[in-house]
């Protein structure tokens, strides 16, 4: 691999042990994937430190002890605990204590402990052609597909990239991989973010690690719908990027999106395909009692917070229902300034940051330190408005999980009874 003078300085330990370790890992990664050299990155979205896994926060603390500092703007991904309101979620103090060590480690490293899966709604908005790294596959898809930045789906090495400002040139950092492999004609009419999350969820297994190119949308999707589409694709597929000609930089047409590529696989998505995703998370009939309702996956944008406030204004969450709205700390602060948080909490909803149901201590598939004693699972039937959250809630919390639209989820929360998609609010 061709390395610069500064890369070699880091590799030789001239910039300290943390950067030496980071560069050694990145070089090994680059050699595995045949990278010719390294690129300079402009942004990193990294490992948050997960209190629900043993020795996970320690990965960051070890680097702090070596004096590590990030060299590019760096945000932390969604994690297990609401930093400010962990008691509100029922998290045990032993878990919160480990989490706080992760927050402190990020501060020492020089990161923004944004702790969100939607750092872009919190102001981190990489540009067209900016090389970056992301530990969250949904962020990878959004930044590649909506902003035109260049990111792979990374793991812990997102931290190594942040410490060195470098990343091996392979995958979606190369033009040759940023071309369409599947041409998707959307015949279904899609009305909201949940519908778009179902579109992505349906296509993930059909597309695999390919790059789907979309045509046929009745109108340009909103930013929130593009976000929901990416999260759905990344949930069921190995997708890193999609292309909507006219939206994804720099592609203005399907021809440009397919330029130089072999003939694409052609796919059509009808209304029945979307119905089937909803149907796979419809294990109880409308009218069934519900004890938990969640909206805000991926973490809500300010626009979504406004929509939630409009839906919940003047209404009250049913006393048998716990309702969570999840977002980033940054969006929550802005929403508070605009008076939205009081509207939501007056209605009885809880506004939770830094985590979400599938990411918090509700998950049963984790492996925390034995010193952390988690409360008994108490959720029996959960309603969500995102296909991503639905899949992971079902598999990780192992409760009955139902998928409906945002408006129907709010109607479910206020009535205490399941309102199906298109059903009349209670």
């Amino acid at each position: 691999m061709k390395l610069t003078y500064e890369d070699l300085q880091m590799l030789d330990g001239k910039q300290g042990e943390a950067r030496r370790r980071a560069m050694e890992g990145l070089v090994q990664l680059g050699e595995a994937f045949g990278a010719e050299d390294m690129v300079s990155i402009g942004y990193a979205h990294v490992h948050p430190g997960m209190a629900m896994y043993a020795q996970d926060v320690e990965l960051l603390e070890e680097l702090v002890d070596l004096g590590a500092q990030v060299v590019v703007p760096t945000t932390a991904n969604v994690t297990n605990v609401d930093t400010e309101n962990w008691r509100q979620t029922g998290a045990p103090e032993s878990l919160a204590r480990v989490h706080m060590r992760g927050v402190r480690a990020h501060k020492a490293l020089g990161c923004v402990s944004a702790m969100t899966c939607t750092p872009y709604w919190a102001g981190h908005w990489p540009t067209w052609n900016m090389h970056m790294t992301s530990i969250e596959s949904g962020v990878t898809v959004f930044c590649n597909s909506v902003l035109g930045a260049r990111s792979n789906r990374d793991g812990f090495f997102s931290v190594y990239a942040a410490l060195t400002g470098r990343y091996p040139r392979f995958g979606y950092h190369l033009d040759e991989n940023r071309v369409g492999t599947h041409l998707v004609t959307v015949e279904a009419s899609l009305h909201n973010t949940t519908d778009f999350s179902c579109l992505g969820y349906h296509l993930g297994p059909l597309v695999g690690t390919g790059v789907p190119v979309f045509t046929g949308f009745a109108r340009p999707p909103t930013l929130d719908e593009l976000d929901a589409l990416g999260a759905g694709l990344a949930t069921t597929g190995g997708v890193s990027m999609f292309i909507v000609p006219g939206i994804t930089p720099p592609y203005n047409s399907t021809d440009q999106a397919m330029a130089g590529a072999p003939a694409p696989v052609e796919l059509r998505v009808g209304g029945s395909d979307i119905d089937r995703v909803y149907g796979s998370f419809a294990s109880a009939p409308p009218g069934s009692r519900v004890d938990f309702v969640h909206i805000g996956c991926p973490h809500a944008s300010f626009q979504e917070m406004k929509e939630y406030a409009a839906l919940l204004s003047g209404r009250t969450v049913h006393p048998d229902v716990e309702m969570w709205i999840t977002t980033s700390g940054a969006v929550k602060a802005l929403s508070a300034r605009e008076g939205l948080i009081s509207t939501l909490t007056d209605a009885g909803a809880r506004v939770i940051t830094d985590t979400c149901p599938m990411s918090c201590h509700f998950a049963l598939t984790t492996s925390p330190d034995p010193g952390i004693v988690l409360p008994e699972p108490r959720i029996r039937r959960m309603v969500v408005d995102s296909a991503k959250q639905a899949k992971y809630t079902r598999d990780m919390i192992r409760c009955q999980t139902l998928l409906t639209t945002t408006a129907a989820a709010v109607a479910t929360a206020t009535s205490g009874r399941l309102v199906a998609r298109g059903g009349s609010p209670g």
């Binding site: 812990f156 090495f157 190995g238 492996s367």
Partner: protein, 145 residues
């Protein structure tokens, strides 16, 4: 015991390790198919469901890509339930490679022969991730899954 033989491959993650082979002709998703605490294959429809990967050289056609794969492989190393090395026909995805480097678990891939048919569960396997070499000492009566 039959004679040992060698398979040339490409070293992906450095390091050396030895152990009995656990061969699956079906790929594995490190996020979802495996239980961190026990190292057992828990996917009920998987070909080697119920087998423990701990201490084995895991021999696969490929691994199923997932951005969270690194965490599960690393967590298995933290809990001592990890395979000591991975040999697979195709190049694993980036996340799994990152987890293996972090956990010091050598990986070799792109071997000169299909390892899922040439190696049998129970064979003793030495993996050299630096040289990209796999040395197999066949078990007397291989009894694979």
């Amino acid at each position: 015991m039959s004679d040992r033989y060698r398979i040339a491959a490409r070293g992906v993650v450095r390091g050396k390790a030895s152990g009995p082979a656990l061969v699956s002709s079906e790929g594995i998703s490190f996020l979802g198919d495996l239980d961190i605490g026990t190292g057992r294959v828990v996917n009920r429809t998987h070909q080697i469901e119920g087998h423990r990967v701990a201490g084995t050289v895991l021999v696969l056609p490929h691994s199923v890509g997932s951005a969270g794969a690194w965490r599960f492989l690393y967590q298995m190393q933290v809990h001592g339930t990890h395979p000591v090395a991975i040999v697979q026909n195709s190049l694993p995805d980036s996340s799994l490679v990152q987890g293996a480097i972090l956990g010091g678990i050598p990986i070799v891939c792109e071997p000169e022969v299909d390892v899922t048919t040439s190696i049998r569960s129970g064979d003793m396997v030495d993996v050299d991730g630096d040289a990209g070499m796999v040395t197999v000492r066949p078990a007397v009566s291989a009894d694979g899954p």
